[in-house]
């Protein structure tokens, strides 16, 4: 059952992922004054300043931007902190300059960039938002005790209960309580940031591989640190596998340990980034054709993709949380003979999986 679900989720993810190459190809063939490829990559990538809009043309217009702090560490010169406005338009400051949003030093020495970039700023914003929202939800419980939920508390309670009952309890089993804080935080972190990424001018945080990498590594670490004897027994002496096959099975199983979080990383990154790329591609069509007639079509498709992205936002948060819970569940699972049967799950869960 779990494997079936997994396969289904992978299929779903790849269908969206497949949109990416076609759209980038489209832009690559179109090399005019307006370069959609560059525009899209600029939008989905990170930046050292928060750029909202440019009034007038690129050279002489007014840029509506929020400068962000640049924090660079060079082994030779130590830490240097300054505003990103010092580096605007390719300017050089303290021996540092930006090359394609990449901080490099003039003399070619190594620079460790710890700047508060657009993504980091957005990350802080979402962290503040998460803290405000969920402490006020917790406040509702402190105020009303065991009474009926109200306001923001009643909005989030079913989601929290869903994560607890449908994700954690079902996938992890009786030891689920230890992992609830991580699962809930990951779920709401991804969901909130997916939604923030859809806001015009927002940063593409969950579509950044560094962010998904960090989350996937955290999941991997939690899985490994909570693994029991049974989990390693499955890897080094897979039950039901003849002894001569073990030299093949053990490397496969070890690769499996790392492929699982890798798939988490790529799935979230690709889904969110692909959504942004598709939306931006539809908008780029207007500028490629230089025709207002294309606008309604572009807008209609853009709107459709955006609506789809709203759904993908919560779906990907759910998938990431569910798969994390499943990996943890696999690591803490006690020995059960019945588990060797594939598809031992119950009916409603299967129907639920097909609904996605």
């Amino acid at each position: 059952m779990k494997r079936l679900l997994l396969a289904l989720l992978c299929l779903f993810s790849f269908s969206v992922y497949a949109n990416e190459p076609t759209s980038t190809q489209e832009e690559a063939t179109d090399k005019e004054a307006f370069s959609p490829g560059d525009m899209i990559l600029h939008h989905i990538g990170d930046a050292h300043e928060w750029h909202f809009a440019t009034l007038g043309d690129e050279e002489h217009g007014t840029h509506l931007t929020i400068p962000l702090p640049v924090i660079a560490y060079r082994p030779s010169q130590g830490l240097s902190i300054f505003s990103s406005s010092q580096l605007a338009e390719g300017k050089e400051y303290q021996g540092l300059k930006l090359e394609h949003e990449h901080l490099v030093s003039e003399d070619g020495s190594k620079v460790y960039d710890f700047s508060i970039t657009k993504n980091v700023a957005s990350l802080m914003l979402s962290a503040a938002l998460l803290l405000i929202v969920f402490t006020s939800v917790a406040g509702g419980y402190a105020k009303r005790g065991t009474g009926a939920p109200k306001g923001i508390q009643s909005f989030f309670e079913p989601i929290i209960v869903f994560v607890r009952d449908e994700v954690a309890k079902k996938s992890i089993g009786p030891k689920y309580e230890r992992y609830m804080p991580y699962l809930l935080t990951v779920f709401f972190f991804i969901w909130f940031n997916n939604l923030l990424g859809l806001v015009p001018g927002g940063a593409n945080l969950t579509g950044n591989i560094a962010v998904t990498l960090t989350l996937a590594v955290l999941t991997l670490l939690i899985t490994l640190f909570s693994s029991n004897k049974n989990y390693w027994h499955h890897i080094f002496a897979t039950p039901g596998v003849p002894k001569p096959l073990l030299p093949i099975m053990i490397p496969v199983e070890i690769i499996g340990i790392f492929v699982k979080p890798f798939s988490l990383m790529v799935r979230l990154f690709a889904n969110i980034t692909a959504g942004h790329i598709v939306t931006l591609s539809f908008i780029s069509l207007i500028f490629i054709f230089r025709n207002i007639g294309v606008a309604p079509v572009s807008l209609a498709f853009g709107l459709f993709i955006n609506t789809l992205e709203l759904m993908v936002a919560i779906l990907q948060a759910y998938i990431f949380t569910l798969l994390t819970a499943m990996y943890i569940g696999g690591a803490v699972e006690e020995h059960h003979d019945a588990d060797y049967q594939i598809g031992g799950g119950d009916g409603p869960e299967q129907a639920h999986a097909h609904a996605h």
Binding site: G45, I71, V137, A138, G145, P181
Partner: protein
């Protein structure tokens, strides 16, 4: 290729900020929320269980009442039956006594009558004897001087005569 190259700075900040958010939310949000949810669920469950118990108790009480009622009914029937029995017995007794008394009285009366009759007969006999003697005396006064011999003769005659 830039978008698939993770940047060190972002990884660092993500780790730090996510870690802080995780710890803060765990302490100030998830723990109170989850414990409140658990508390509420257990209180609801407890209330349901209590309601079930109350229902069971009610049923037991009802069954007890019915049993009591049935017992009372049985007791009443028993008392009624006893009372009927006692009254029947009393009537029977009274009847028996009355009959007994009646027969005793009849017997007494009969005895008295017999006595009276005997007395009356004796008197009649005496009177008749006296009368006969008187008559005989008068008859024989003239004829007989030996009165005792005469009397003896009359008595023997009288004994032969059956009055009844």
């Amino acid at each position: 290729m830039q978008i698939v190259t993770p940047e060190l700075g972002l990884i660092f900040w993500q780790l730090v900020i996510f870690g802080i958010v995780l710890l803060l939310l765990r302490a100030f949000a998830w723990k109170p929320i989850l414990s409140s949810l658990k508390e509420r669920e257990s209180s609801i469950e407890g209330a349901l269980r209590m309601a079930d118990q109350a229902k069971l108790e009610m049923q037991q009480l009802k069954a007890g009442n019915e049993k009591l009622l049935a017992e009372a009914r049985l007791e009443r029937d028993r008392i009624l039956k006893e009372a009927t029995d006692v009254s029947n017995q009393l009537i029977e007794q009274a009847k028996n006594k009355a009959t007994e008394e009646g027969s005793r009285m009849i017997l007494q009366a009969r005895e008295a009558i017999q006595n009276e009759k005997n007395a009356a007969l004796a008197e009649v006999k005496n009177t008749a004897a006296q009368l006969s003697i008187d008559i005989a005396e008068r008859i024989l006064r003239r004829e007989l001087t030996d009165q005792p011999a005469q009397q003896q003769l009359v008595d023997s005659y009288l004994k032969e005569v059956k009055l009844n």
